[in-house]
């Protein structure tokens, strides 16, 4: 889904928003826009991997991976490990190479040696980015041009560009959706709605990262776990929506924004099946609504949708 914070803020009355509550984050990096513009952020991800990335990129107020730790933990493996020791051995060629698996094993173990929580988050956030890179180049059958050592170094440089000290505080949570408080006081509650039809509700790198973080040899367990913690927070064309659950979490927000992307279907279908039921369900708290559509890629019928609700929208 294409999450566009600036579009959300343009669509709201100016000067009325100072804080944003996101009960379930889609990804950490797009939210940096809110931090950059000085909004107070409350954000939750029920998966451990997602929450780690939120802490590393968003909650982090400018701490970088230290040079000392970089020297200590970004190492080149000279002699391959015994594959029998590697908990991820079943991933060999599915999709990772033997060398990549050695590094994934080493980086996980090395992370446990880092005692400062933010330093560990930063280290493992770099591993997530590397997994993401490897998966995407393997899928496209493209050559990997960096050694794992170079990649790690490159990603620490990338972290330097992305991480900064915000003007306002950021609270990154890792709570199950059922336990998430219903009394959050933020001026805007923002819900990125994932549409689950042909694709899974989580992407491949998210599944691998979750499995890797938890030490699961099979990714199916990770997939099941992610689906379980996110259940009722996505939209499926095949089953009844769970919009009442979402309404319970809007807390005391003055405005609510729900955004999603969808392809292969004309926008009218989204309006009828998602926007209208949402407006109806949310109307007791938010009497007025504004629905917006943007074309992303007409050839694929790919559109972005934004529903803004409140007293004066």
């Amino acid at each position: 889904m294409r999450f566009q914070p600036s579009w959300v803020m343009e669509s709201l009355p100016s000067g009325k928003i100072d804080s944003v509550f996101i009960p379930i984050a889609s990804r950490a990096q797009p939210l940096l826009w809110f931090k950059r513009h000085g909004f107070k952020i409350f954000v939750n991800d029920p998966t451990e991997g997602g929450a780690l990335l939120l802490r590393a990129f968003l909650q982090n107020q400018g701490e970088l991976f230290s040079e000392e730790n970089e020297k200590k933990f970004n190492r080149t493996i000279k002699k391959p490990f015994d594959i029998a020791m590697n908990p991820f051995k079943s991933w060999e060629n599915r999709p990772f190479s033997r060398e990549q698996l050695d590094y994934l094993f080493y980086w996980r173990e090395a992370g446990f040696e880092i005692h400062q929580p933010m330093q560990r988050d930063l280290f493992w956030a770099a591993v997530y980015m590397i997994m993401n890179y490897w998966i995407s180049v393997i899928k496209c059958d493209a050559p990997v041009k960096f050694t794992p050592y170079e990649l790690m170094k490159h990603l620490f440089t990338k972290q330097k560009e992305a991480i900064f000290e915000g003007k306002e505080s950021v609270f990154a949570l890792n709570m199950p959706m059922d336990e998430l408080g219903e009394e959050v006081e933020a001026s805007l509650c923002l819900i990125p709605l994932t549409i689950c039809d042909k694709r899974a509700i989580e992407d491949e790198s998210e599944i691998y990262f979750h499995a890797w973080l938890k030490g699961y040899p099979e990714i199916s367990s990770a997939k099941r776990e992610i689906e379980f913690v996110k259940k009722n927070w996505f939209f499926s064309w095949d089953s009844a929506p769970h919009f009442e659950n979402m309404l319970k979490k809007v807390g005391k927000s003055k405005y609510c924004g729900i955004t999603w992307s969808g392809d292969d279907l004309p926008p009218r279908i989204h309006e009828e099946n998602i926007a209208k039921p949402l407006i109806e369900t949310f109307s007791p708290n938010f009497p007025k609504a504004k629905f917006m559509i943007k074309t992303a890629f007409r050839q694929k019928d790919d559109y972005d949708f934004l529903l803004i609700m409140g007293d004066n929208v």
Partner: protein
């Protein structure tokens, strides 16, 4: 016999409707803002950015060839061409000192630079309502495959294919020109750089397609544009 005739009739009707829709789309595609005028405006933007030879027009040529090889339809190719001409129109709002600054930018200046795709999106949304996907292509031409681009930090296939094509041809065109702080890259150097950043900044499929095309046309970076 009658059944056969009916099937034949349905097929003929389907073909006719398909042809009608394609022709209609093409007609709409031709009913465009004047491309020559857009090209002239794009040269103005190039000058503002300090390019000595046409940058956006080069991009438009390259984008069209790549888009064609990656299966974009006629209408999207037209949108892509216009988006290439107009990709940096949001820069008109920025001060020239920042755009043409050769020293490293301060974080505040970077924040300003990062607004230009959003401004471009807003401008084009008002002026090209028929071509509703052009503003999006302009908005996302600085997004990177690994999610580290701007303005929305989209990742991978979240970025529409035409915007991923624009990102590659923008880089190719920029690298192939002399800049005050570096000499122009040779096509071999461009290929090395694109391969290096494939999967990080650029979509590996688009890079592959560019390399494939370049290798089959070794004498020139790209042939003249398809008219």
């Amino acid at each position: 016999m009658l059944l056969f005739f009916n099937i034949l009739l349905i097929c003929a009707l389907t073909i006719l409707v398909y042809k009608y829709i394609s022709l209609r789309e093409l007609f709409i595609a031709r009913n465009l803002p004047d491309c020559a005028c857009l090209e002239a405006v794009s040269k103005l933007i190039d000058t503002t950015e300090g390019y000595k030879s046409p940058h956006a027009a080069e991009m438009a040529k390259h984008a069209q060839i790549l888009g064609n090889s990656l299966g974009l339809d006629e209408r999207t190719l037209v949108s892509l061409r216009i988006a290439a001409f107009m990709h940096d129109c949001g820069q008109f709002n920025l001060s020239r000192e920042i755009i043409r600054k050769y020293e490293p930018l301060t974080p505040e200046e970077w924040d300003l630079i990062k607004t230009h795709p959003i401004i471009g999106d807003m401008l084009l949304r008002q002026s090209l309502p028929l071509y509703e996907d052009i503003p999006g292509f302009v908005r996302w031409h600085h997004e990177k495959w690994d999610g580290s681009g701007y303005p929305d930090r989209l990742r991978g296939e979240e970025i529409p294919l035409p915007a991923r094509i624009l990102a590659v041809v923008d880089a190719v065109s920029a690298m192939s020109q002399d800049r005050p702080y570096r000499a122009a890259f040779s096509t071999e150097q461009i290929e090395v750089e694109l391969e290096r950043l494939s999967g990080l900044h650029f979509d590996p499929i688009v890079v592959k397609s560019w390399i494939c095309y370049r290798r089959s046309n070794p004498t020139q970076l790209f042939p003249p544009a398809i008219s």
